[in-house]
Amino acid sequence: MDVRSTLSYLYWLFCQFELITCSYLMEPWEKVLFYSFNLAMLGLLLYTTYVCVAFQASSAFQLLCSFLGTPRENALAVVK
């Protein structure tokens, strides 16, 4: 079953993560603390990515669209 081998591979990856970050050795409350800290950091990273990078990506996309449509006086003028 492909799903089972994929799941076991993912479990193996998770075990590697636990061993590398020493969370395999931690007591349960320490694990909760560590994982919640990690997930919080990851969420913050994704939010920052969403806020900052999205604006850049949308302005770059508009620039591209302006090349296909009407030519402009200067390339930096962004369509409002």
């Binding site: 931690m26 007591e27 320490e30």
Partner: protein, 446 residues
């Protein structure tokens, strides 16, 4: 990493490579240690502020004003990092350490602070760590017949030191056998392998002597060197350039303040280093020792019985003669399945040790049943017990000359019998009918 080796001294190419771990392994290891350290600080903080129960040694209230006892890094590491994983080590076993053994089941209720035995045993655990290299530590009744006989004859306790009443005929027999096995003049056996090193190096060297010891030498060698009172200098592991530099500096500059010549320079090396697995570069060390007139002490604890075509150790592995090494030391713990150690070499050296070794004067001698176990193991390795289990097959070259002469004699007898039937007409021309006599004389001479 060990410098360029002198390839012309080796009889066959000696290649040793230790692969380096990839970069991501090193990075991940540091990540793990960093996380462990952060959590260690957190737990220490919680313990100091009373949020968590303290299970370890702490100072009493009256001692808090003095120098802190448990704040150094070693205690921090032991308390926070080693404690989390210490259930992997120091487990008691309850069977002979063969290829599989039985383990006592041990559980911890409070995350490795305390352990308790449940009373059950885990059977047939695969053995990856014992020193039972050749399998002589066994419980087979047929193999241990002679050992049982000696145990019933002598008992277990010797109850005396070697110099008083502790030298048994078993020890003399064993020492002769060890000397024969190694190809040296004489040998002396001691009850404990660690004590062989730590008690005999102080007898051989003293103040005013120089010890050049390898970086990764065993604790017994280090302890013996420190106990002796001689000056110790360390050379990089298996690095002959480092050793030669130290030897040259020692001979040029002499002792530290007075610049007198050193009384003795001795090089301490091991045959196989137990933690690294590297084999000593013996031909180069022997050539250095001969050039600079130093002595060589070779600790073959792990290599005797296990290395070399017939198990004689690194000396045989490199095709050298045992006379090149001044002091051959080894233990019986690893390949022979017993306990104890030996020192072998020239007769003068061993006689000196019989009189002056600390172990000979104060330590109890080897148990005779253990000595018999070593004798039986050694006889098996040398092929003296009648089987070919230990000795590699080499019977053909030894009786080939006698085979050839027997075949020649048989063919001549056949010819004589045939010639008696009808004498050769051609030979009659040269000698009148005395061919048969000549043939008989020739055969008798042969």
């Amino acid at each position: 990493k060990n410098g360029v080796s002198n390839g012309t001294l080796y009889k066959k190419t000696f290649i040793e490579h230790f692969e380096q771990a990839p970069m991501y392994v090193a990075v991940f290891t540091f990540v793990g240690f960093a996380v462990g350290t952060i959590f260690g600080y957190l737990r220490d903080f919680m313990r100091a502020w009373g949020l968590e129960k303290r299970n370890i040694a702490t100072e009493r209230e009256q001692q808090k004003d003095f120098v802190p006892l448990y704040q150094d890094f070693e205690n921090f590491y032991t308390r926070n990092l080693y404690l989390r994983i210490r259930d992997n080590w120091n487990r008691p076993i309850c069977s002979v350490p063969g290829p599989q053994f039985d383990l006592m089941e041990r559980v911890t209720d409070d995350y490795n602070w305390t352990f308790r035995f449940t009373g059950r045993t885990i059977k047939n655990v695969i053995n990856m760590g014992s020193y039972n290299y050749l399998g002589f530590a066994e419980t087979d009744v047929n193999a241990l017949k002679t050992v049982t006989r000696e145990l019933e004859k002598y008992g277990t306790g010797v109850c005396s030191t070697r110099q008083e009443m502790g030298t048994l005929d078993k020890h003399v027999e064993l020492e002769k056998l060890v000397a024969k096995f190694l190809g040296v003049e004489d040998a002396m056996v001691f009850g404990m392998g660690f004590a062989t090193n730590s008690m005999n190096i102080p007898a051989l060297v003293g103040k005013g002597c120089l010890i050049l010891s390898d970086e990764l030498n065993h604790t017994s060698l280090v302890l013996g060197a420190r106990l002796s009172g001689a000056t110790i200098r360390i050379f990089k592991h298996n690095n002959m350039q480092s050793l030669e530099k130290l030897l040259r500096d020692a001979i040029i500059y002499g002792q530290p303040r007075t610049h007198r010549a050193w009384r003795k320079i001795i090089i301490l090396v091991e045959g196989i280093y137990s933690m690294e697995g590297s084999i000593v570069r013996l031909p180069e060390i022997v050539s250095l020792k001969n050039k600079y007139k130093a002595y060589l002490y070779l600790d073959e604890a792990h290599s005797i019985g296990a290395v070399g075509a017939t198990g004689r150790g690194v000396v045989e592995y490199f095709g050298m003669s045992p006379n090149d090494v001044d002091v051959l030391m080894g233990t019986f713990t690893k390949s022979f399945g017993a306990a104890g150690g030996y020192i072998a070499g020239k007769k003068g050296l061993v006689d000196f040790l019989r009189a002056h070794s600390h172990s000979a004067v104060y330590a109890t001698s080897m148990c005779p049943a253990v000595a018999e176990q070593i004798i039986r193991a050694m006889k098996c390795l040398m092929g003296l017990d009648g089987t070919t289990q230990g000795k590699p097959p080499s019977f053909l070259p030894s009786f080939l000359p006698s085979l050839i002469s027997a075949a020649t004699r048989a063919s001549l007898w056949v010819w004589v019998l045939l010639a008696q039937a009808k004498p050769h007409p051609a030979a009659r021309k040269y000698c009148n009918g005395s061919v048969k006599e000549i043939l008989l004389i020739v055969i008798l001479i042969l």
